[in-house]
C-alpha cells in the first residue's frame, strides 16, 4: 500500500467524488485560483473549472447558507470554511438551519452537504486563530461531526461524508497535513459513526481523536518501553459517538484516559467520561482522567502556547496516575 499524506488523502477523496458525481462541487474562500489555503484543492480549479470550484467572497454565513440551500435542491456542496474559527461567523446556519432543516419540517427535506474545516492550535496564530472547538459543534443533534486522525480514515470518511444525505462537519487538523499513512489504491469508504482500535493493548484504554490520537499513539509507544500496553481507540466521529469499542476495551483494562486538544471543560472527554460512568460504571477500577488544553485563550508566544496545549508527557502522566 502506498504511504501518502493527510493532505493527499483528503485531496484524493475530493477529486474522486467530484469525478464520480457531477452534483458534487466546492465553494469557499481561496479554494480556486489559490488552490486552497492548505493546498488541498491545488489543481482543482484548472481541472474542474470555476463552475465546480467556486471562489467566494469572505462571507462565511453565505458560504454555509448557500451550501445548505443548494443541498436542499439535491446538489452535494462541499463548503470549505478556511478554519473552524471562522465557522462561528456561520454558526447560525450550521446550528439553526443545517442541523434542524430535516427534523423541523417533518422529514421533508435533506441537506446532503459537507462543511470541510480546519481546527487546532500549535502554529502561533494567537487566540482567535488557534482554537479546537470541535466539541462545540458536536453538541447539536442533526449535525454529524467527523474528525479523522489518519490519512486512511480521512479519505474514507470524507468520501462517506460527501455521499451522506445529512450535513456533515468534517474537521481536519492544522498541524497534521504532513502526517503519512497507508492508503489503498482501490476505492473504499469508512462509515461515519464508528470508533476503531488504532493500537491494541491490555493495561489502559486511551480514547482520542484527531491531534489527540497523535499524542495518544506517541504516548503508547513510550509506555510500551516501560512495559505498559495502552489500547488506543480513535473516535473518528464525534457525533454520532460510538462508545462500544471503548467499553470492550475497558473489559480488559478497566482504566480510561481521554485525550483531546480542545479545552477540558464541557469537552469530548467530559462527554466520554459521563457516558462511561452512566453505561459502564462497573468496568472502571479508577477515575477517568482527561488530557486536554489548559483553560486559556491560546497565546502567540510559542513557549506559552505549547504549555497550554496537551503534550505526550501529559498523556503519560495521566496513564501513570490511573494505573497507580
Amino acid at each position: 500500500m502506498a504511504k501518502i499524506t493527510m493532505r493527499q488523502a483528503i485531496s484524493q477523496a475530493l477529486w474522486e467524488e467530484m469525478e464520480r458525481d457531477e452534483n458534487v462541487f466546492i465553494l469557499g474562500e481561496e479554494v480556486g485560483i489559490w488552490g486552497g489555503t492548505y493546498a488541498v484543492t491545488k489543481g482543482f480549479y484548472d481541472h474542474f473549472g470555476e463552475k465546480r470550484v467556486r471562489d467566494t467572497p469572505i462571507a462565511e454565513a453565505v458560504i454555509v447558507g448557500a451550501a445548505i440551500g443548494a443541498a436542499m435542491t439535491g446538489l452535494r456542496p462541499i463548503a470549505e470554511i478556511m478554519t473552524i474559527n471562522f465557522a462561528f461567523s456561520a454558526m447560525d446556519h450550521i446550528v439553526n438551519e443545517a442541523a434542524k432543516m430535516r427534523a423541523m419540517f417533518g422529514g421533508q427535506m435533506r441537506v446532503p452537504m459537507v462543511i470541510r474545516t480546519v481546527s487546532g492550535g500549535g502554529r502561533q496564530l494567537g487566540a482567535t486563530h488557534s482554537q479546537t472547538p470541535d466539541a462545540v459543534f458536536a453538541h447539536f443533534p442533526g449535525l454529524k461531526v467527523v474528525a479523522p486522525g489518519t490519512p486512511y480514515d480521512a479519505k474514507g470518511l470524507l468520501k462517506a461524508a460527501i455521499r451522506s444525505d445529512d450535513p456533515v462537519l468534517f474537521i481536519e487538523h492544522a498541524t497534521m497535513y504532513q502526517v503519512r499513512g497507508e492508503v489503498p489504491e482501490e476505492e473504499y469508504l469508512v462509515p461515519i459513526g464508528q470508533s476503531k482500535i488504532q493500537r491494541p493493548g491490555r493495561d489502559v484504554t486511551l480514547a482520542a481523536y484527531s491531534k489527540g490520537l497523535d499524542l495518544a499513539l506517541k504516548a503508547a509507544a513510550q509506555l510500551a518501553q516501560e512495559g505498559i500496553e495502552a489500547e488506543v481507540i480513535d473516535l473518528r466521529t464525534l457525533r454520532p459517538l460510538d462508545m462500544q469499542p471503548i467499553y470492550q476495551s475497558l473489559e480488559k483494562t478497566n482504566r480510561l484516559v481521554v485525550v483531546e486538544e480542545g479545552w477540558k471543560s464541557y469537552g469530548v472527554g467530559a462527554e466520554i467520561a459521563a457516558r462511561t460512568q452512566e453505561e459502564a460504571f462497573d468496568l472502571l477500577d479508577a477515575p477517568i482522567l482527561r488530557v486536554a488544553q489548559k483553560e486559556v485563550p491560546l497565546p502567540y508566544n510559542s513557549t506559552l502556547e505549547q504549555a497550554a496545549l496537551p503534550q505526550v508527557v501529559d498523556v503519560i502522566a495521566a496513564v501513570q496516575e490511573v494505573l497507580r
Partner: protein
C-alpha cells in the same frame, strides 16, 4: 501643516518600511512565528489618517496593523518585541503580529477575524456619543471585509444612530488572492455606503498628503454630522502574508504599483515644496534604520514571558477555574 509634523510623517513611513523589512527577515530566520501580514506599500494610509486625528479619536484596524501601531507611537522596540513574542512586547508577547493595541494611545487593536471589528467600532463610537465626547472612531478594514455581513450591519447601525465613525476601507485590490471584482458586486467599494445613505469618497492612498487632507475633512464631517466612508486605494507590495505564492497577480502589475511608492511620492513632494532638503530626508531615513536596528537588539535580548503569564489577564476578576 508644520514642517516638523511633515518630517515626522516621513519618519513614520520610513520606520514602518524598515521595521517590516526587518520583520520579514526575522520571519525567514524562524524568530517570528504565526502569520505576518506586511503593510509595505500601504504606509501612506495609516500615516495620513493618524496624522489627521485628534487625541480623543480612537482608531481600530484589522490584523495588518504594524503601520497603525507605529503611527500612534508604540515604539519600534515594543512592536518588534511583540513580533518576537517577548514579555516586553506591547501585548506582552501574547498577541503577536496580528494583535497589537495601546489603549493609552487610543489604538484599540488589530483584529484578526475579517470584519469582526466593524461592529466593535460602532460600539466604541456609541461609547463616545453616549458620554457626550466629541471623539471619532476611525475604523480601518480591507476591501475583502466589505463582503461579510458585519460590514453591512455596522454601517447600517452607524447611520441609524448617527454614530461618530469614520469608516475607512483600505482597498489594496485583493483579499488574499481574490481580486475585488471577483468578490464584490461593486468594485468601487465606496458605493456600498450609498445603500446606507452614508456620504463617501474614494481617494488615492499612495499620496499621504491626499490621505491626510481628506481625512481631516472627513473627521470634521463625522464630528458634526455622523458617519462617513472613505475608500482609500492602495496596494500591498508583498504577499498577503509570508509564504503567499502570489499566483493571482503578475509581476508587471506589482511593478506598476511599485513605481508609485508612497514613500518616494512623499519624498519628492517634500523636496519640490521645499519642506526639507535631501540631506534632512537622508538623515531621517538613517534614523529610522538605526531605530529599527535598536528595536531588533532590544527584542532579541528581551526575556520571554514566564509560564505564570499563561493564566494572567484572562478575567478582570479572580479566575477560580
Amino acid at each position: 501643516m508644520k514642517k516638523e509634523q511633515l518630517l515626522d510623517m516621513y519618519y513614520q513611513m520610513v520606520l514602518i518600511r524598515r521595521v517590516e523589512e526587518a520583520a520579514a527577515e526575522l520571519y525567514q530566520q524562524g524568530k517570528i512565528g504565526g502569520f505576518l501580514h506586511l503593510y509595505i506599500g500601504q504606509e501612506a494610509v495609516s500615516t495620513g489618517l493618524v496624522a489627521a486625528r485628534q487625541p480623543q479619536d480612537r482608531i481600530i484596524t484589522a490584523y495588518r496593523d504594524h503601520g497603525v501601531a507605529l503611527n500612534v507611537g508604540i515604539s519600534a522596540r515594543q512592536v518588534m518585541a511583540e513580533l518576537l513574542g517577548k514579555a516586553t512586547g506591547i501585548s506582552k508577547g501574547k498577541g503577536g503580529s496580528m494583535h497589537m493595541a495601546d489603549v493609552e494611545k487610543n489604538f484599540w487593536g488589530g483584529h484578526a477575524i475579517v470584519g469582526a471589528h466593524l461592529p466593535i467600532a460602532a460600539g466604541l463610537a456609541l461609547g463616545d456619543q453616549y458620554r457626550g465626547s466629541d471623539g471619532v472612531t476611525i475604523c480601518m478594514f480591507g476591501d475583502g471585509a466589505t463582503n461579510i455581513g458585519y460590514f453591512h450591519e455596522a454601517l447600517n447601525l452607524s447611520k441609524v444612530w448617527k454614530l461618530p465613525v469614520l469608516w475607512v476601507c483600505e482597498n489594496n485590490q485583493y483579499g488574499m488572492g481574490t481580486a475585488v471584482e471577483r468578490a464584490s458586486a461593486v468594485s468601487e467599494i465606496r458605493r456600498k455606503a450609498d445603500g446606507y445613505a452614508i456620504p463617501n469618497m474614494a481617494i488615492d492612498g499612495m499620496n499621504v498628503m491626499e490621505v491626510y487632507e481628506t481625512a481631516q475633512k472627513a473627521l470634521a464631517h463625522v464630528r458634526a454630522a455622523g458617519p462617513f466612508l472613505l475608500e482609500i486605494n492602495t496596494y500591498r507590495f508583498r504577499g498577503h502574508s509570508m509564504g503567499d505564492p502570489e499566483r493571482y497577480r503578475d509581476k508587471e502589475e506589482v511593478a506598476r504599483w511599485q513605481e508609485n511608492d508612497p514613500i518616494g511620492i512623499f519624498r519628492r513632494w517634500l523636496l519640490e515644496n521645499e519642506k526639507a532638503s535631501a540631506e534632512t530626508l537622508d538623515a531621517i531615513e538613517a534614523r529610522a534604520a538605526a531605530d529599527t536596528d535598536d528595536a531588533i537588539r532590544f527584542a532579541e535580548t528581551s526575556p520571554e514571558p514566564t509560564l505564570d503569564e499563561l493564566f494572567k489577564d484572562i478575567y478582570v476578576e479572580a479566575n477560580h477555574g
